[in-house]
Symmetry: D2
Subunit: 391 residues, 4 copies
C-alpha cells in the first residue's frame, strides 16, 4: 500500500463495469488496480448479459452479493452498503461511457474511465462541466502517459530544458488490422467495427486518440489548426484504418501524425519525436525504459528509467530498479496509483503529492474529442480546420 | 485467478519471510504473488528485529495476529490455524535459506526460495534430498527464466530447432558496484558485502548464479568442466566483483561467461547468445520482448512476444498482447504462476499443465552451488576443474 | 575496371564542373568516379573565379592544359582534343545546372548532374525534351538510391513481393540548421541561403527532393495529389527549413513526408517505411546495410547487404562482403558505375546490363521539380493540389 | 591528393603482390590505395601462376611491362627503373609474407603487409629487427583500427578520460564457416584450410589476430598472461574454428575474448567493450560510425563520427560529414592514408603529422604472433601461460 493508503487505513473499494474475463482491457485494469495494492475489486458488472455478468464476477473473485448483473444494480447495491465502492472503473464499449459516468456522478463516485471519453463532442463538453461541478476525481486512461520516460519528456519540456518546442511528430503504426477480419461485416459482434458503438472513426477513436493526447501531454500545448487525411486502405473494410494529420500547436510550431492499424507486420509503433531550440526527445513504447535526448552541439544521450539525472516526475512513476524493464502493465498502474493519491487526498481533505497530479483527466478526454471532430471535418472539406480549444 | 485456482476455489495463502518495505526484492515477490491473483499474502516476518517485523507486516496489510516477529513464530502460528499458509516465500540473507527451508519442510509447506540456494554445496545436497523425499513443490527464483522469450529459446533448443548446440555465451554486466560503496567496510550493515552471510563470492552468488542457470536452462545441459578467473577489479574492495569463466557443456560444446558488477555506467547487461548447427539465438534482458534468431543460409528473424510462430512454452508465459511490453515484474510473476499450478495440482491430486513445470527447482539451485564451488576452485588452482553434475 | 570498361579498353574521361577542394560534394563525386576505376578526372572547372579554378584543378591532379578557368573554356578545349572528355559531371549551384546541361548537350556529352535539376519547372520540362531527343545518358545524382538495400526495396515492390503498396512514409530529419548560421543574411556567400541561386525553397530543393525521389523510387509510383505545410521554424531565418507533406500515390494509397534541417541534435535521418498487402519495409540511411521486412502473420526479418535471399538488383550494387559495412560514398559510386555501363554501352553500341539501368535520370529530376512546385502551391493555398505527372 | 602528397608533387607508386581479380582482399587494397588519390598501382604480381599473373595485371590496368609474372621479376624490374615503385603491398597467403618482406627490405621499399605477419614467432622477431634497422615504413593491415570511432576509443583511453582500464572484452563472431565447406579436405585449393600455408590455427590467424590487436590498440596495453580454449566445433573440420581466451593486461586488469567463424547465421561480429574507472566504451564494426560511452553516475552518450566532442585522432580519420555513413573500405583506406603520410615524410625528410602515426606496424604484428603462440600453448597445457611482451 502507498503511503497515502496507509493514512486511509484500508484499500480503496473499486467497482468495475466492463472487461469480462475474455477481454484484454478488463484484465489490464484489474491487474493495474492490484499491482500497487491500493485497491480491492469488490463489485463488478462484466457483461451486458446479466447472467454471464454475475458468473464472471464470481470467477474473478467478487463476492456473490456484489457480482452484479447490470450497472443499475451495481450503483443501487453499492449505494445501499456502508462499505460501498469508492470509485468505479468504466471499460465498456465507447457509446456507454457517457451514461455510466453520469450515473457515477449522481452517486458521488470518483471515476476511472477508458478513452475515448464519449462518442460526441457535445456529450464531452457536458461531462467536463458536470465533473468540474461535482469536484470528483476523474482519471481518463490515456495509459501511455503513465510510462516514466513519457513523464520525463513532459517534465523536460515543462521545465524549459529544450527551449521552445519547434516541431513534434507522433506515430502509432499497428498491424493487427492489415488483413480484413471475419467480423467486419454488418452483423459483427465486435463493437469496434460498429460506428454506432465505437464512434465515427475506428482509427481516431481507437489509437489516434492516444497519439493526440501524447502530443498534447509532452508539449503541454493543444492544437490550433489541422489538416487531415483519414481513410481506409484495406479493400472491403468499412471502418477507417489510416490517418495522416498535419497540425500546428498553439505556439504555431508544426506537427505531424501518422496513425494506422493496417501496417502489415507492424507491432505497436507508438513513437514520438519532438525538437526544441536546444535539443530533441525520442521515445518508443516498445522500448519504454529509455528516452533518447539529442542535443544541439553535443552528443546524444540516453536516459534510463531509474537512472541518473531524471526529473522527479519520472522517478515517482518508477517502481523497479535500473535495468529491470517495466512495461505496459506497470504504466497503466501508474494512472491507478496517481488516482489513488488524488482520491484518498479528497477523502481525507489533505493535499495530494503534486507529482501525482499529472494523470489525464476529463478535459483531456474532451480535447481529444474535439481533435477527432476537427480531423473528420478536415477530411471531408480537404482544407485546414482552425479550432479553439475549449477546455 | 488462474483456471487451476478456480478449481481450488480460493487463493493460495502465502507467508513471506524477509523483504521488508525498504527492500527491493520483498516488493517484487509480493507484487509477483498479487499480479495474477493466485495468492494472498496472509502472514509475514519482515525483519530480524521482531518489533520492526511486526510493524512492517501491518504496514503491508497483514492482519495483526499474522504479522509475526520471527520465523519460529510464523511456522508455529500458522501450523496452529485451520486457515494456515499453504506456501512460504523465503527472501532473507543467503546464509539463512537452508535453515528456513528445513523448517518449512518440517511443516509440510511448499516453498518459494531466493537464490543462491545455500552457502555451501553440502547444505545444497542435503536440501535436494529432503525436498525430493518430502515431495513438496520447490520453486527457486532464478527469475529470468520466467521471461517468455527465454522460454522460447529453451523450447527451440529442446525441440531441436537449431540442431546440436555448438557454443554459448552468457554475460551479466552491471555497473552499480563500479565505485566503492560506503558500506563495504567490515562493519557494514549490507549483508551482501559480508562473506559469512552472502557466501564466499559476491559476484558468483549474486549474479553469476543467474548467468550459470541461464546457460543451463536454455541449453538443457549442465557443465562438464570449467576454468575461471574470479577477481576484484575495484581497488579497496574486499568482495569479488568480476568473473570470467570458460567451460564445456556435457556435450563438450564450449561456452564462455562474463559477469561483473563493476562496469562503470553499465545498466543490467544480462544477455546470452547460443549457436547450434542451423542457427543462433540472442536475448537481452533489457529488451526482453524480442529474441533474435539467426539462421544458416537465411536472413535473421526477430520473434516478438505474443507474435507469430512462437512455442507454446512462450505463449503460456505471456499475459499481454503483442507490442505492449512486459518486464521484469511480469517474468518474476511467471514463476509464481507456475508454482501455483504445481501447488494446487498437488493439493487436488490432479495433473498440472505440463507447460507450467519449466520453473527452476531445488536441483537447479544445487547445480549452481556446484558451479560456484568449481569456479572458485579453478580460480585458486589456475587450471580446469572437471565436475560431475550430481543432480 | 568493370567488365564493360574492359571492353572499351580504357577508363572513361570525365570533366568536372564545380566542387572545388573545399566543397563536400566535389570530393564525393571525384572519389565516386575513382572508386571502381571506371573514370579518370582529366578536365576541371572548380570555381567561379578563373584563377582559383585553374589552381585548384592542378591541386587535384588535373594536367595544366585541362585545368580550365571557366566552363566555356572546358567545353571548347575538350571539343578540340582527340582525347576529349566523354562525360561531364555538374555540381555547381542549383541555378547553373540548366545552362551547363544545355552546353553539354550541344557538345554531345553524357551528363552526370546534381539535384535539383533546375530552379523552375519549365526549364526542367525543356531539359527532359532535349535529353530525350539527343539520346545521351543522363545520370541525376539522387544518390541515396545507390544503396544496395534501397535497390532491394525497389525490386521487392516491383516484383510484387509485398502485394499492392498501401502506404508510405519518408522522413529526412537533419539538425545542422537548428541554429541560425552567421551566413544567413542577405550578403551571404553561401548560395544555399540565396533563393535566386538555390531555388524558392531551401528545404525542398536540398533534401525534400531526395525524400520525394525516394518515395517514387521504392514505390514505382509518382504522386497524384498532395497537401503541404512548408515553413520556417527557426526564428530570424528567411529560408524554409521545415516541410510536412501528405500525399496520395497514383494508386491512391496515402503517404506522408516529414523533412527538416532544424531538428536540434539530429544527425541525418533519411528513413522510409512502406507497407503493402503482405508486409512492410523499413530502411535508415544511417544503418544502410540492413533493411527490415515485416511480414503479415510471420516474424520480421532483417536482410543484410550481400546476405541470403537478396534480389539481383541489390547484389549488383554491392562490392564488399557480408558484414563489412558500406556507406554513403559507395552508394554514390553505384550511380557512377551504373552510368559507366550505360555510357560505354552507348559508345560501343551494345546492350547494357539491364540491372545497371535503375539509376535516376532526367525525368526523375523533372518529376521532383513538379513535386516542389505543387508543394509550394499547396502551402500558399492551404488545400490539396492535384497534379498530373508529365514525365 | 593529401597535403603531403602535394608536397611530393606526384602520387606514390605502388606495387601489389597477391590479390588477383577474384580475391576479396585484392580489390580492397587497390580501392584503398585509390580512395584518397595518394597512390597509383603501377606494378603487380597477382597469381602464383606467371601467365595468369600477367593477364590479371593487364586486366586491372597495369602497363604491359609492369604486369609481372613473379615477385622476383617485380623486385628486379622495378629496381631497374627510374620511376620504380616506392612501396609494395603484400596480400599473399600467410606463409609467404616473411620472404616477400625480406625481399622488399633488400630493395629499400616501404611495406604495406597483411596479417598475420608470419607463420612463426621467430620469423616475426627477425622481421621486427630488420625493419627497425632499415628504418623503413611498415604498415600492417590490422584494418579495423582505421575506423574513426576506434581511434576515438584509443585516444580516450590514452588521454585518461576513463581513468584506469578495469576490464575489456573483445568478440569476433562470424558465421561463414558454420557449415563444412567442400574445400576443407586435404586437397583443397583454399590456402586458408592448409595449416602449412595459413599457420597452425585458422581461427587465431584469421580473425583472432584482429581481436588481439584491437584489445591492444584500444587499451594501449599488451597482455601479461592468458588461458585459452582453442578448438573445433564443426564436426569433420580439421582447422580450428573457435577460440575462448581469458587474459590479464599488463596492468593486471582482466579481459576476455570470444572468437569464432562457426556461429550459424552470424554476420561479422567484431565488437569490443571496455570499462575504466569513470566509464566504458562499446563499439560494433557493423555500425562503425557510432561509439557508445557509458559514464559513472551519468547517462550514456553516443558519439557520432564527425559529430561533437570528438578527439583529433577520430577527426583525422574521417572524410565525409556527420550522418553519411563510412564503412569498411574507408577504414582500410585510413591505413593507406596514414602510411602515405609517413612514407612521403621519410622521402622528404620532414616531420609527419603525429596524428598519422597511430597505424599498426611490424611490432604489432609480432605481438599478435606472440599471442597466438601463447594461446596455442595454453590450449595444449590447459593452464595459464605467462608471457613477457618482447616488442
Amino acid at each position: 500500500m502507498n503511503q497515502i493508503i496507509a493514512k486511509l487505513g484500508r484499500r480503496l473499494r473499486l467497482g468495475v463495469i466492463g472487461g469480462g474475463p475474455g477481454s484484454f482491457i478488463g484484465s489490464v485494469h484489474r491487474t493495474a488496480a492490484r499491482l500497487d495494492d491500493n485497491y480491492e475489486v469488490v463489485a463488478s458488472v462484466l457483461s451486458s448479459n446479466p447472467e454471464r455478468s454475475k458468473r464472471e464476477g464470481l470467477a474473478i473473485g467478487v463476492a456473490d452479493d456484489r457480482a452484479y448483473g447490470t450497472a443499475e444494480e451495481l450503483f443501487a447495491g453499492e449505494k445501499a452498503r456502508d462499505d460501498g465502492i469508492d470509485v468505479v472503473a468504466i471499460m465498456t464499449p465507447n457509446d456507454s461511457h457517457y451514461a455510466l459516468c453520469l450515473e457515477a456522478l449522481e452517486n458521488g463516485l470518483d471515476i476511472i474511465c477508458d478513452k475515448p471519453l464519449t462518442t460526441s463532442l457535445s456529450e464531452a463538453r457536458d461531462l467536463v462541466d458536470r465533473v468540474k461541478t461535482a469536484g470528483i476525481v476523474f482519471c481518463h486512461t490515456f495509459n501511455y502517459t503513465g510510462f516514466p520516460m513519457v513523464r520525463q519528456a513532459m517534465a523536460m519540456v515543462r521545465d524549459g530544458d529544450l527551449g521552445a518546442v519547434r516541431m513534434i511528430e507522433v506515430e502509432y503504426i499497428q498491424g493487427h488490422l492489415a488483413g480484413l477480419k471475419p467480423d467486419e461485416d454488418g452483423g459483427s459482434d465486435n463493437w469496434r467495427f460498429q460506428p454506432e458503438k465505437a464512434g465515427e472513426s475506428l482509427i481516431l477513436g481507437d489509437i489516434g486518440s492516444h497519439a493526440h493526447h501524447m502530443a498534447r501531454y509532452v508539449t503541454g500545448q493543444d492544437l490550433s489548426r489541422l489538416t487531415a487525411d483519414v481513410t481506409t486502405v484495406v479493400p472491403g473494410r468499412v471502418a477507417q484504418d489510416y490517418a495522416g494529420i498535419m497540425f500546428r500547436l498553439e505556439s504555431d510550431a508544426p506537427g505531424i501524425m501518422w496513425v494506422t492499424q493496417a501496417a502489415a507486420g507492424g507491432v505497436h509503433g507508438l513513437h514520438f519525436r519532438l525538437f526544441g531550440e536546444r535539443g530533441g526527445l525520442e521515445w518508443f513504447q516498445e522500448t519504454p525504459n529509455q528516452i533518447i535526448h539529442s542535443r544541439l552541439g553535443a552528443p546524444t544521450i540516453t536516459f534510463e528509467r531509474d537512472g541518473p539525472d531524471l526529473k522527479p516526475e519520472a522517478a515517482r512513476a518508477t517502481r523497479i530498479g535500473f535495468g529491470h524493464p517495466e512495461g505496459y502493465q506497470e504504466a497503466f498502474a501508474v494512472l491507478y496509483a496517481d488516482a489513488a493519491e488524488a482520491i484518498v487526498a479528497r477523502k481525507l481533505g489533505v493535499k495530494p503529492d503534486p507529482l501525482a497530479l499529472d494523470f489525464p483527466g476529463v478535459e483531456d478526454g474532451a480535447r481529444t474529442m474535439q481533435f477527432i471532430t476537427a480531423a473528420l471535418e478536415s477530411t471531408h472539406t480537404g482544407g485546414w480546420v482552425d479550432y479553439q480549444v475549449a477546455f
